[in-house]
Subunit: 142 residues, 12 copies
């Protein structure tokens, strides 16, 4: 089973950026814990601040992987192109967010990509990613 | 550990109503599976079509329970009163939805209650509830 | 043939409330006339000021009755929950209004429930109900 | 007793146009049935695709007829001029629609003419016209 | 000197229609008074309820007349086509209104044709036309 | 002289809920002080989280009491039904709020019920109720 | 017969300011011509850049003069206070504008004061004032 | 104890202006009654139609008085500058209105100054001022 | 192969009207060139300023012609009736515009008819028509 | 003669992505056909999912090529930067779309780049590109 | 070289008002420093809370001074009249703000006067003024 | 002291692009002048048309440099991701623009990044950058 976690803009700064909002844990540390917990799942990881590179990676994995966990960061609210990429591929995508986007500025309340994802998990910090993994691995094991 | 699942309007018809959207499983069946899976958690359940009764139950459980899993159904998009109830209590609330509300009519894209919940899980069918339970039980066990 | 007329908030005051808008006839008097005129039709009646109780009644009758005539009053313009209830049941619903809602305040111009009803009749006073009954009984007799 | 049915743009194509929306019956056939059913009523009929000709006919009949049944078609949503014509005459006008305009594109949800009509009947197919006739003839016979 | 007064929809009913708003004088009577008062001016007159016929007349007179006085009635607020016709011709157009359109429904506050007219006179009843004539005749005599 | 104070959703939690916004006083304690201060006034009290029950109580008291003091809580901003109930009864209603609703979220700036009340008092904590009582009792004593 | 012309902000710069829009004539010169032409009318004049002083002058003249000709300049689009002043006095007010406000920035398309004036004349340069005077003097002489 | 009542534009016409809305009492008469009733309170009074003079007076009294009762009239809905003045001073300000601003034109529903006042009282005529005085004097005496 | 070009309001003035926007060529001259170039295609032509006559012609040709090239002029932005006519017929319609409507006033950015056309070509002057003809004739020849 | 076709995000998936919307033809195949048909034209091609790389290519070709045919895909609706790039270069740009963007989600109805292009061709599938080439090559050969 | 600094409403309270936002320095002290630093520049200063007096001063200096540095305070967001004054004069105006208006309430994000100024400097505290002076003096010295 | 100037999309064309708006000076020439003038400051420079590369550079410099001068070009109005990058770093950012963005198209009036910058300087051409440098270097030298 192959799953990819794709992180969008500014998420490379996790653990360094606005810690009161995003926590003080680096994503790589968290990723290692996930890999240990989900031994039977091949978990790939990609991060970029460039919208088009996120699209490229969705294209590359979106026809063969078993699941994409996407935290598109700020592009969630502005990118029709990523929305179209999700609609174009055949792999299911779950949208995740660390913070509760609905409790922040109003322009963060609308997700352009959500309508093309199968589901959304937000506000639960790093656990948002873990729950998405649980969903994909559970679905597969049935 | 005590968790309550609160379901709002029309969710009593699950398994009978628009099955292509909501699936053909009755909620009670699903609830039994959850109780088996989460043996160490005391899972209460409440459903009502009356906005005020949902508020009453949030008040009754919101100062002593360890978590509230709330699918407020259509009231998600219209009820400032439920939002205020969530803000008024001290127990954490996770908002869940069976369907992907962002892929439906535009008036379902805005959740009035989300800003007062700690997180939201939507679009993953009955699994939305299960992931919320996993979150609460995982948090507790640490 | 079984038809139910469901009246929403403040319609219990008919004949007493703002008579220049709603007329001075009590609904019960009018209902008796209808029962006399439509001898072969079993006409049930329900009124409540509680949104959730209207939903309950729609659920109870919406899988077995031959028609629902619904004047949701003010909930017409604010209740996504009643809209969902109408969509959830299998019985056809006709929306009726005593007054011409389009000639009143602008927030009364939008009906949230109309898209899920098979039709709407408004502005014709008590006759709005009678025409709806004529529609249902005529359809049946064919 | 004299009633006129006025049909607006594209209604000359009934029975030929988008049959899944508007049915496969020509309006003329339906009109003959109505004339048979309402023997004591003089039912005139007019159809035009030209906004101004609809206004002309409303002017010509609007001071002497006992009722106007108006399906203004697409002009319902764009014509302030027809609205003004209805306000200018003394005969009561009932607005009718074959389809449920509230279940279609959002620009069809607002009727510019409704506020000047005494009532509206929509969504009930050809029956919408028949109910309007029943209203006018019933009112007269009292 | 040649001036044409062009009246739009429903203005043929002046003196008969909503007298409390538009007065009880027929336009023809008023026109005769104007012709007497402005002996040296050739005053043409045209009225139609058909948008396209108003455009035709603007085209026919708009390259040779010395002024067009246009009361487009309800088309004032909905007709981009008349706006384009005014922009297309070389004769100056003054927009007039009997009533104060700014004191009526909000959809009457925006005039689509005003930006292409040289000026607007509204709210002064029949005097609105007379002042426009005074403007054109005064300009000419200088 | 008979006055009723009607409190809407979540106001049963006063003294327990968000004390920095609403204070730490239970409403019942404050009510007793009011009863002492206004010895000659019969002060009834009702609280419910159910919109329809608030309407029921407005109906029951709205034709015989000398004044209704209504804090509709969150329903202030969403309930057309309560607005209609206020319009339907003959007793004067004053709208009160503990907090300054204009200094909070923008959806709390619009009161749907205010247009049907004779006046509004907000932002002055428990004193808002007391001033409303002073108004009603002063009016009566003249 | 007493008429006052009131000019608002920046109109003291006429003849000096943006001549391609407003012309190169000083208002005082034009005023003298008007006084000559309308010998039997007592024409007062007032200009101020201060909103409140315009209100003061409307109050001082608005109960005794036969007409107020008001060019409120930019306050036309922002001053509810001047609107209220016009509504408060008993003298009729005509709104005038030198330029065609509808052909300029969109925020100039809405006049807050127009609904309280008896009429509006715009776009005809200095002639806008003269036509307003003709209206008032004509009305008086009848 | 020193309180100032500040009245904004057009309130100098009280008793003379639109009596059906504002009553027929001059403010000065009412002020004398208040001074008699509140013997121990030094009640200053200021009225101006000039926005900037209202600001000046708020500055002059806003660091030393015990309370400001402000009826900003039409500036309530348009003046960010007065809002800023209220925020800049340290004295508490209560906003009052004679009429129920929520029952009037929609542009009167939004108060720009309310978010910076401690509370608002509207719709209760002259009593609105008296209740504000009762609030300030009561607070002080505790 | 039969194609019709239908031109809407003001397009009869081509070559005479605003030449800097629309060019100085009469449409008839251009039409002759097209007929020469497309020898094997029967090219009909119709122009009217009357919305309803455009609808009539769409009806007459829309079930038998191989293509309709429609420049609806200003009605593009205001006519739901023409939109409905296009939806009602079975012949494919291509929308064309001489000028780039997206570079003009904002009310020209929205085309009400585009959603019912198979495609749109705009901004390329008379070439817009020629490309549409190339499309239809190419499709046919395959 | 040198023309470049520039394709934006997700267009690399043509023939693989949502075939019911975009067809099952790979763009490269189509491009070869075009090169054969337009022997005398040097047709360059570029595709990228990165907004900035599209801008780079517009800069590189936009001062020397004879035409740019641009399908900006989803960036059409969100990229002010591409709009500015088009405005910055001297080569004419034609906007093309495979699908009818006006018949899709409302956020696809507005093109940010259209106002800076000389024209737009949409909805005609691969033919949209061919018509644009015909336009450029035809213009050149005159 | 003559420059004037014009400060609008509430800026007379600098050093006394909301010090956490505006700093604790009196403007007069800062002005003296500026005069010392810019020895060769004649720096005039004016402050008023009255919109019209700001306009008066812009008129008086706007045809002879070398630059106007304007902090219009709250009038920035509401005054079309000041905007018109800036457009009417020939001297260049730079808009300055102490605080970052874009980080405050949304109604402070739009500046009505900015489009008529040559530039804007905001958010840099007292330095905003100094940079504007540097701009004007630098431009002059070249 | 280390400062970086970051230029966004299309600014590589300065001196070549729309010279009437942006001037005919290449940025590199101007940069050299700045380096000469500010000898003691280490001025880095970066330009890219790719949004994500701008973010990368902000990350790389945003924790160690003394100031960032950012002209984000068109991304100013569309990029939430750059806004988040500015919020994520600790170095102060000043937003600059060559042209007065408030005097251009309305979609350029809103800056998404401004709320996270310490200040904004716009409309003063190349001087905008120089003033920002003066600010940073002045602050440092104190």
């Amino acid at each position: 089973m192959k799953i990819i976690i794709i992180n969008g803009p500014n998420l490379n700064l996790l653990g360094k950026r606005e810690k009161e909002v995003y926590g003080d844990q680096k994503f790589e540390n968290f990723l290692n814990k996930l890999k240990n917990e989900f031994g039977g799942v091949d978990i790939a990881y990609f991060q970029s601040n460039v919208e088009g590179e996120l699209i490229n990676r969705i294209h590359e994995t979106g026809f063969t992987y078993d699941g994409i966990i996407l935290n598109a960061g700020a592009y969630t609210h502005t990118s029709v192109a990523i929305r179209d990429a999700i609609a174009a591929v055949t792999t299911d995508v779950i949208e995740v967010h660390l913070s509760n986007i609905f409790a922040r500025e109003s322009f963060r309340h609308e997700s352009l990509i959500a309508p093309k994802c199968i589901g959304s998990i937000s506000g639960l910090g790093m656990e948002s990613y873990r729950l998405a993994l649980l969903y994909f691995s559970g679905k597969n094991s049935k």
